[in-house]
Symmetry: C2
Subunit: 114 residues, 2 copies
DNA sequence: CTAGCCTGTTACGGATACGAAACGAACCGT
DNA sequence: ACGGTTCGTTTCGTATCCGTAACAGGCTAG
């Protein structure tokens, strides 16, 4: 799988542009990265773990979970085995959101990387 | 060029993650989209034109140009033929930034889309 | 020359983000 | 049971972003 630099940028730009044009309030780069980590990396996901993986402070994660939780994209649940932990879980709505995103990516790839 | 949905998401996540991990303050999704438009679409680029293309208001463009101008990623110059216009121009530093981005994308593709 | 339009910028109030530090709650070792 | 540690959250002050609306300056038609 080899791609030319200019193809890569056009592809990336195209996906970004569709996100910007969308009416939905844009997710922050950090928020989106958190969301993708939750959905692509194997659970369980804790605040601390996410913070470490992204190289950001814990409040960043808390705030992002607040925001995305309000949009229904993720869910928080106490870890019953260690009640200090908060486990972050996927939701149907979050899956749909990422499904739409991947559609955008795939289509952009098909048209920009031909 | 056909990609599976999960490959697409992993690819995208990887590039996002590298942006987040980077020490440099993250560009907003909008800022990045503006930058890519300036570098990929044929000039001239005006504030009004960029605003229309991205479906945002003019102050958004002005502010983004302020921020990216301070980082040296773009340059503003008066249009001498119609001094109302501001022409946005590329810089060496901006080219280097995008070159690094495209490297990230290409490498991520090579490893995620194998 | 001047009234009106077009440009980009600035002002404003509100929303949101940030990191550092303090905080309460839960766990653990002793 | 109690001091220390580890969680996630909250608070604080600061910085940034947003859209609306007002703005100053350049252009142009009459």
């Amino acid at each position: 799988m080899d791609i030319r630099a200019d193809q890569a940028l056009r592809w990336w730009k195209r996906v970004c542009l569709e996100q910007v044009l969308d009416d939905r309030p844009d997710l922050t780069l950090r928020q989106l990265t958190i969301l993708l980590t939750i959905y692509l990396d194997p659970p369980p996901h804790t605040v601390r773990g996410l913070a470490a993986r992204l190289g950001v402070t814990k409040p960043v994660i808390t705030r992002a979970l607040n925001a995305m939780g309000a949009m229904g994209l993720v869910e928080r649940r106490r870890d019953e085995r260690d009640r200090r932990n908060v486990l972050v879980r996927r939701t149907v709505e979050g899956s749909l959101f990422l499904e739409k995103l991947s559609d955008t990516i795939v289509i952009a790839a098909r048209e920009e990387l031909r």
